[in-house]
Structures are given as structure tokens and as C-alpha cells.
């Protein structure tokens, strides 16, 4: 364990060193080194605009993402557990899941404008299919034996769902939400960079400045947001279903 931490630390240090060396070699206007980004970052934090835009954008994203979980999870479970649901909905799911979000952006601008509805809608369509697909795979893989035991003890359909199926699905719910969140954050940035508003707009505008330091600072914040959100969901998984940690780790790999 200690040696692993040592190598983790070594990896991060090496990456920072390479970044610093590369940044010094090709110049701040191409790739600002960490020693330049850090003071810039503190300035941006003090200024407050970065965090304000971030909070605002994340709030709008959460609406679309929450809706995607709310819709995607039940439908995904239904698809995984019912052959009819699977046959009816799967073709649509596999079609929408491969559709590029960026290609939908111009269309959604025409339909929703560039305000809140547009951003929430893009985030929704970007994440709902991934949430659905992940929980669908989980629901299909539930041990038939568990269900059979419930059936032999005379459990009703409803109590089989509530007491066996749903607990078995907790870890997949968390995984589905995690994968959905990755896509939700990506979609937020895509949508905002296209119409140049919010945090994505900030990224776009700072890309036009001479130094790349502000741009890198904005990316670091985005990275921190992603890592924290991931850790929160992982922590949530440990609390609601500690017995399934291994399973969660193995379905975490992106497979469509």
C-alpha cells in the first residue's frame, strides 16, 4: 500500500516535471508551465468570476443530469428485466447512444435558443442514454438464482423487485450515475463553447488570449470538479452497497 502511494506520488511529480520542462521549452504562449499557471490560478480564484461561472454552469448541468438519471434509471431497469421492453427500446437506445452530441448542438440551438433550456436539454440527451445502457447491463446480469429463491419462498412480484432486484442493482445505479456524469460534464462544455456562454464560453475566450496560463487554469478547475464528483459518487457507493465494491470496479470500464 505504501509503495503504491509512493508510485502514485512519483507519477504525479514526473508529470508535473515534464509539464514544467515542456512549458519552459516551447514558451508560455504555447503551453504555460505550472510555475506560471499557479499564480494565474490564484488570481482567478481571487477575482471570483471563474467560480461564479462554474457554479452557474454546474447548476444548469445538474438539472439536465438529474432529469437524465430520473428518466434513464427506471427505463434501463425495465429494459433489462423485461424481454418485451428490451426488444422495443433497445434499437432506439443503440441508435441514440452512438449519436454525437456536438452534431445535435446546432439543431438544439434552433429549437431551444441559447438559454437555460438549451443547455439542460443537451446535457440531458448526452447523459440519459449512457445511464440507461449501464443500468440495463447491470439489470440483465442479476443472478437468476436470487430471484428464484425469492420466488420459491412465495415473494410477490413487487417484493421481489423491492427486496432482491433493487439492492442487487445499487452498485450499478452508482456506476450508471458516474458514467452519466462524465458525459454530462462533457456535454455542458460542448454546448457552452459552441454558443460562448458560461464556463465553456470562458474557456473559449481565454483560448484567444496570448498566454495559455488562464486557459490551463480553467482546465485544472474542470479537472478538479470531475475528480471530486467521481470521488463523491464512489464514496456514495461504499455507503449504500459496501458488499459490491469489486463489482463496481469491474463494470467501471467503459464498454458499450
Amino acid at each position: 500500500m505504501r509503495t503504491r502511494l509512493f508510485y502514485n506520488f512519483l507519477g504525479i511529480t514526473l508529470a508535473l516535471a515534464v509539464w514544467e520542462a515542456l512549458g519552459r521549452a516551447i514558451g508560455e504562449e504555447n503551453f504555460a508551465p505550472p510555475s506560471v499557471v499557479l499564480p494565474e490560478y490564484i488570481d482567478l480564484l481571487r477575482d471570483g468570476q471563474m467560480l461564479r461561472e462554474l457554479a452557474n454552469s454546474l447548476l444548469q448541468m445538474l438539472v439536465g443530469y438529474g432529469l437524465a438519471c430520473f428518466v434513464g434509471l427506471p427505463i434501463g431497469i425495465a429494459m433489462g428485466r423485461s424481454r418485451l421492453g428490451d426488444a422495443l427500446l433497445h434499437p432506439w437506445l443503440s441508435m441514440f447512444v452512438v449519436t454525437s452530441v456536438a452534431a445535435l448542438v446546432p439543431l438544439f440551438v434552433l429549437v431551444f435558443g441559447t438559454g437555460f433550456a438549451f443547455r439542460a436539454a443537451i446535457v440531458f440527451v448526452a447523459s440519459v442514454w449512457y445511464v440507461m445502457l449501464t443500468i440495463y447491463q447491470g439489470a440483465r446480469g442479476v443472478e437468476p438464482r436470487f430471484i428464484d429463491v425469492g420466488r420459491s419462498f412465495g415473494a410477490s412480484r413487487w417484493s421481489r423487485l423491492r427486496c432482491i432486484l433493487l439492492p442487487a442493482l445499487y452498485p450499478y445505479v452508482i456506476t450508471a450515475m458516474r458514467i452519466g456524469l462524465v458525459h454530462a460534464i462533457r456535454a455542458m462544455v460542448v454546448a457552452e463553447m459552441f454558443v460562448i456562454v458560461g464556463y465553456g464560453g470562458l474557456i473559449y475566450r481565454s483560448g484567444l488570449s496570448v498566454s495559455t496560463a488562464p486557459l490551463l487554469a480553467l482546465l485544472v478547475t474542470l479537472m478538479v470538479v470531475g475528480v471530486i464528483a467521481n470521488a463523491l459518487l464512489r464514496g456514495g457507493a461504499k455507503i449504500v452497497a459496501p458488499w459490491y465494491e469489486e463489482r463496481v470496479a469491474s463494470v467501471g470500464s467503459p464498454q458499450t
Partner: protein, 250 residues
């Protein structure tokens, strides 16, 4: 309904969905939403006039180059990260951090380093598929059944033979999974690049359609992209069952 063939149910579902869309589109204004009949008609005229196939061919050029580069770099790297505990411990925090950044946010850098045109598009395709492939291949290499390696070792296989005859075949299913996920991401990157960098090919068609409020034109391009994604995914699945008949996917 329960006893119908799944393929028939799929067809029924598609027909119902399209019919609902057609009805909904006729109810609201045509400007806001084009019905599927209009989209199909547009698809047919654009294909017949050669505009759409030409644009698609142009787009496929940077897709192919970017994806090939990404496979060449990411697959060996994935094996290295997956098979060495030390390499994994060193790479994981850095990879996780990178993975958390939406690739589209890196477009300003692509502009600075590679410009607005072909090189920039190739770079975005590379960037968007690279991490997806790397992560999946690494997971596969890590999950090779240790007993398989032990058997090889007890029969005196050399290190090289162990790699080529045991590890590689055992992790091929994951390589295929990685290629599938990576290719779908690469197709997304292909159109993203054309919309966010210089508008060319399919991206140009979409932007023009958007300026003219031409819903049918936009949906035709989206539909084509969707077909391309499905074809890529199903094609690789077919290839997988031919090359790896012993591996039964759940």
C-alpha cells in the same frame, strides 16, 4: 405479444416511433421540426446529387488517420500500464486527471498547435479516442486470468512466448471492446472537429442548414452520422465473432 420474434418487435418499435414522429411533426410547424419523410427525401436527394457522399468521404479522411494513430499509440501503452503494477500506480492518477477534462475544452490548444484545418481535426480525433482505448485495454490486460499465465509458465514458455501466445489472445476481447468504444468516440470527434474548427464537409453542411433554418438538412446529416456509428460498432462486433469464435460475449 410476448411470443413474437424479437426482430419483429424491433421492426414494430421502429415503425411506431417513426409514425409518432411523423404525426408530431405534422402537428407543429414544419419549421420547428421536420418529419421523417422530409428527412428521408432530403437524404435521397443529397445522396443522388453527390454532395453528401463527397462530404462523408472528406470527413472519413481525418477520422481514419486520427483513429489509426490513436490505436497505434494507445494499445501498447494500455498493455504496459495494465501489466505493470508500478506503471499502473504511476500512470493512474495522471490518467484519471486527464480523463476528467472534456476533450472539447482542449480545442484552444489544438488551434494553437495544429491550426484550424486537417491537422487540427486529426489531433482532435486522436485526443478523443486515445484515452478511451487506453483505459479499456489497460483494464483488459490487468484482468488476464493468472492461472492461464501459470500454466504457460509451468510448461516452460519463455517470456516472449507467454506474451504472444497467452496474454495477447486472452486480452483480445478487451482490445476489441476498446476499438469499438474508441471508434464511436472518434466518429463523435470527427463531426465535433468540423463544427468547432474550420467548418468543412459534413460540419459545413450542418452549419449551412442551421443558417437557413433547414431542419431536414440537419437531421439528414445527424441520421447519416448515426448510421455510421452503428455500422462501425456492428462491423467490429461481426469481426470479433469471426476472429474470436471462442469468446462468447454476454
Amino acid at each position: 405479444m410476448r411470443h413474437l420474434h424479437p426482430a419483429l418487435l424491433t421492426a414494430i418499435s421502429l415503425v411506431i416511433g417513426l409514425a409518432l414522429w411523423e404525426l408530431a411533426a405534422h402537428d407543429v410547424q414544419r419549421v420547428v421540426f421536420a418529419p421523417p419523410s422530409a428527412v428521408l427525401a432530403r437524404l435521397a436527394t443529397d445522396t443522388a446529387s453527390g454532395v453528401l457522399p463527397l462530404a462523408l468521404l472528406g470527413s472519413l479522411r481525418h477520422l481514419a488517420l486520427g483513429f489509426a494513430l490513436s490505436v497505434i499509440v494507445a494499445v501498447p501503452l494500455g498493455f504496459a500500464v495494465g501489466r505493470s503494477e508500478k506503471a499502473a500506480a504511476m500512470a493512474n492518477p495522471v490518467l484519471n486527471a486527464f480523463y476528467a477534462i472534456p476533450p472539447v475544452a482542449l480545442i484552444p490548444f489544438i488551434l494553437i498547435w495544429f491550426g484550424l484545418f486537417f491537422e487540427g481535426r486529426v489531433a482532435l480525433v486522436f485526443l478523443m479516442s486515445f484515452f478511451e482505448i487506453l483505459v479499456t485495454v489497460a483494464a483488459g490486460a490487468r484482468n488476464v486470468d493468472p492461472s492461464l499465465l501459470s500454466v504457460g509458465r509451468s510448461f516452460g514458455a519463455s517470456r516472449l512466448r507467454l506474451v504472444t501466445h497467452v496474454m495477447l489472445p486472452a486480452s483480445l476481447p478487451f482490445v476489441f471492446a476498446a476499438l469499438r468504444v474508441g471508434l464511436v468516440r472518434a466518429i463523435n470527434a470527427m463531426i465535433t472537429a468540423e463544427l468547432f474548427l474550420a467548418a468543412v464537409n459534413l460540419g459545413e453542411m450542418m452549419k449551412h442548414a442551421a443558417l437557413r433554418f433547414d431542419m431536414a438538412g440537419m437531421l439528414a446529416v445527424i441520421f447519416l452520422l448515426c448510421l455510421l456509428g452503428l455500422a462501425a460498432q456492428e462491423g467490429l462486433k461481426g469481426l470479433e465473432t469471426r476472429i474470436l469464435p471462442w469468446y462468447v460475449r454476454r
